[in-house]
């Protein structure tokens, strides 16, 4: 178990900057998830920590030791790959023990003991004699995890380990990974493009875009207080609605509506972008007490999701998504009256995308520099 410190990490591939000046500290025993769209540099970051990719600039420390130039095998890490990367010609058990046997610094009993205890944790003792070809995807990923556990590393690195599994198995393995981390308490860096995985697994979540750090925070704070437009739109599905407004004297106005910003009396920033999540919008007739203002929208598409009804509404040519109660009979073309949750409004700078304002009353713990 160890702290990981990334100090001013930059990675260049010829002219392309994959990761730019990244600073990150992962606490001892923490489960940190790195999330971002394809090509955001999340896998590159993980590979730099593992040593499989060299670092163009900056320093990586694991447990206080500078490992920047060290071989992957000397860093005290174990990695789990998306495609499992098991040796196809070796049995599950040999896959788990091959590295230790080659290292030569373990006795046979020690190796046997570690393999068996890892197999028990992962419930794969029956599969140890089989080759990867005779295992299902989920079983293979367990063996790959077993190989990582066997090494008893300071740090687990996981590169989209669940992406090759089917949806149901993914949910099951996700829960098991969380349980495994509770049991072992090993520092884990987990890369994924799936924000559900990121939110459910991470103690903290790192959002990357274009090789740059966007925000590091606990999942709920990331959701409630996104520091910029990218994070606001990336986290949450369906994505946050964004609409250009003018803000003067604490009122966000748009040709179709004007919304007073709670506790935002002094706010006069001119043009800005208002963000409201689809689940913070509702049909005015669904609730007794509605928001101070309501406004009308024309429904263009309805998507029944089972647990809710997702409406695509048009307001003055802007598309809005609204998560309404399920089992409503609303058809495209209908006009609906919308209310909103006044505690869940977000304002972003129109040019830089930085968050200006979050209306949450608990925003006293909001990130510094952001007005409540």
């Amino acid at each position: 178990m160890a702290r990981i410190q990334l100090e001013n990490i930059t990675k260049r591939f010829d002219d392309v900057v994959a990761v730019k000046d990244l600073n990150l500290e992962v606490d001892d025993g923490e489960f940190i998830v790195v999330v971002g769209p394809s090509g955001c540099g999340k896998s590159t970051t993980l590979r730099m920590i593992s040593g499989l990719e060299s670092v163009s600039e900056g320093t990586i420390r694991i447990g206080g030791v500078d490992v920047t130039g060290q071989e992957p095998s000397d860093r005290g890490i174990a990695m789990v790959f998306q495609n499992y990367a098991l040796y196809p010609h070796m049995s599950a058990k040999r896959n788990m023990t091959f590295g230790m046997k080659s290292a030569g610094s373990f006795t046979d009993e020690e190796i046997e003991e570690r393999a068996m205890s890892a197999a028990e944790i992962l419930d794969i003792t029956d599969l140890l004699g089989r080759k990867p070809g005779a295992l299902s995807g989920g079983e293979r990923q367990r063996v790959a995890l077993g190989r990582a556990i066997c090494r008893d590393p300071q740090v687990f690195l996981m590169d989209e380990p669940l992406s090759n599994l089917d949806a149901k198995l993914r949910v099951q393995m996700r829960a098991e990974l969380a349980k495994l981390h509770d049991e072992l308490g090993t520092t884990t860096v987990y890369v994924t493009h799936d924000q559900t995985e990121a939110m459910t697994l991470g103690d903290r979540v790192v959002v990357l875009d274009g090789g740059q750090l966007q925000q590091v925070d606990s999942p709920q704070r990331l959701y409630d207080f996104p520091e910029n437009r990218f994070v606001a739109e990336f986290i949450g599905d369906p994505a946050m609605n964004m609409i250009a407004v003018d803000v003067a004297d604490g009122i966000a106005s748009h040709p179709a509506f004007s919304i007073p910003l709670p506790d935002g009396d002094s706010l006069s920033v001119g043009s800005a972008v208002l963000g409201i999540r689809p689940e913070d919008l509702y049909l005015a007739d669904e609730r007794e007490a509605t928001s101070p203002e309501t406004f009308e929208a024309t429904v263009s598409v309805t998507e029944p999701l089972g647990d809710s009804l997702l409406l695509h509404g048009q307001i003055e040519g802007h598309e809005f998504k609204i998560q309404a109660q399920p089992r409503r009979t609303i058809t495209p073309g209908d006009t609906v009256e919308l209310g909103y949750d006044p505690d869940r409004l977000h304002l972003f700078d129109r040019d830089t995308g930085e968050a200006i304002y979050h209306s949450d009353p608990t925003a006293s713990i909001a990130p510094s520099g952001v007005t409540q």
Partner: protein
């Protein structure tokens, strides 16, 4: 009774006609597709006629010579006559000292050439696989000898290794003289040395072919397996022999078979050019010996018997190789 008005009647008629047209079309299309699928020719004779040239070539130049070789091996022949001799040729073969020597030389040569080619190509391929700069230049350099016909390869090395004037022999002698050794290096008179020189030439010639296949096989191994091995801290030699070789094994099996055939048959021009089987039969491999017996001594019957034995030897070897390697090869 249902009375149809004019309009309805016309409609019904049209529907019937339309249906008929569709049906005919469908039938016609199926006929067409069936025809193109299996009945290209209206009768079998036409097909047989078109097959005839190919069959003629195969029979004339493959089956008939093979059968005639079998027949000839039981005859004593001179240039103009043949006489049935029963198993005489075979008895003569297995009691002949020079044939036994040739057998011994051939197996030695086969072992050295197949083993040497495989091992050297494996190392070179691994290096080519691991290097990230100038890869294609290295690859072309390594594969180049394969582009030469065996006779040319033989000639090139004949010049390079010529005992008195060859560049390589000159360098080897110079290096030897640093350590105070006077290396004669006259492999034209030394049997073991000639064997070594011919083996080197044969291996060098075959490297390129092996490297192409081995590099391709290595590139087929998923990158992440290599990365997993790096994380596991597996040494390079362990990585090569414990991970790469097993995963490449289907290719390696194929190459062993090809190299064996090469060593037993295709090295003929090299031997012919460089040593003519000498000195003292040290490089007189079976294929060369049977050529001499057939076309210089004109003892076709004797050569036919040798040919048949050689065929059986290589056949059995192939069978053993495939059986043994089948047990170890990993086919994914």
């Amino acid at each position: 009774m249902i009375v149809l008005d004019h309009c309805q009647k016309t409609h019904v008629v049209f529907t019937v006609v339309e249906g008929y047209i569709e049906e005919t079309q469908a039938r016609y299309t199926t006929q067409m597709s069936e025809q193109s699928a299996r009945e290209v020719f209206t009768n079998n004779k036409e097909a047989a006629l078109l097959l005839l040239p190919t069959l003629f070539v195969i029979v004339m130049f493959l089956y008939w010579p093979a059968i005639d070789t079998f027949r000839l091996s039981f005859f004593q022949t001179t240039l103009t006559s043949e006489r049935f001799a029963g198993t005489y040729n075979y008895i003569r073969l297995f009691t002949s000292g020079s044939y036994q020597n040739s057998l011994f030389v051939t197996f030695g040569f086969g072992l050295v050439v197949v083993g040497g080619t495989m091992l050297l190509s494996l190392f070179i391929s691994f290096m080519l696989y691991e290097v990230d700069r100038f890869t294609s230049i290295y690859l072309i350099t390594a594969i180049w000898p394969y582009a030469l016909p065996p006779a040319v390869a033989g000639l090139v090395l004949l010049f390079l290794l010529q005992p008195d004037l060859g560049i390589l022999t000159y360098w080897i002698r110079s290096i030897g003289s640093i350590f105070g050794m006077d290396l004669g290096l006259d492999w034209r008179t030394s049997g073991p040395m000639a064997f070594v020189v011919v083996s080197i030439t044969a291996i060098w010639k075959q490297l390129g072919y092996n490297i192409i296949f081995m590099v391709a096989a290595m590139n087929n191994i998923p990158n992440t397996i290599d990365e997993a091995a790096q994380l596991d801290g597996i040494s390079r030699s362990n990585r090569l022999f414990k991970i790469y070789v097993p995963l490449m094994s289907p290719t390696l099996v194929f190459l062993i078979v090809i190299n064996t055939i090469y060593a037993f048959f295709a090295t003929f021009p090299i031997i012919d050019l460089m040593t003519s089987g000498g000195p003292g039969g040290a490089t007189n491999i079976l294929i060369y010996k049977l050529f001499i017996d057939a076309f210089e001594n004109f003892n076709l019957g004797y050569a036919a018997a040798q040919s048949l034995v050689l065929f059986l030897i290589v056949g059995v070897l192939m069978y053993i190789q495939l059986r043994v390697t089948d047990r170890y090869a990993h086919y994914g």
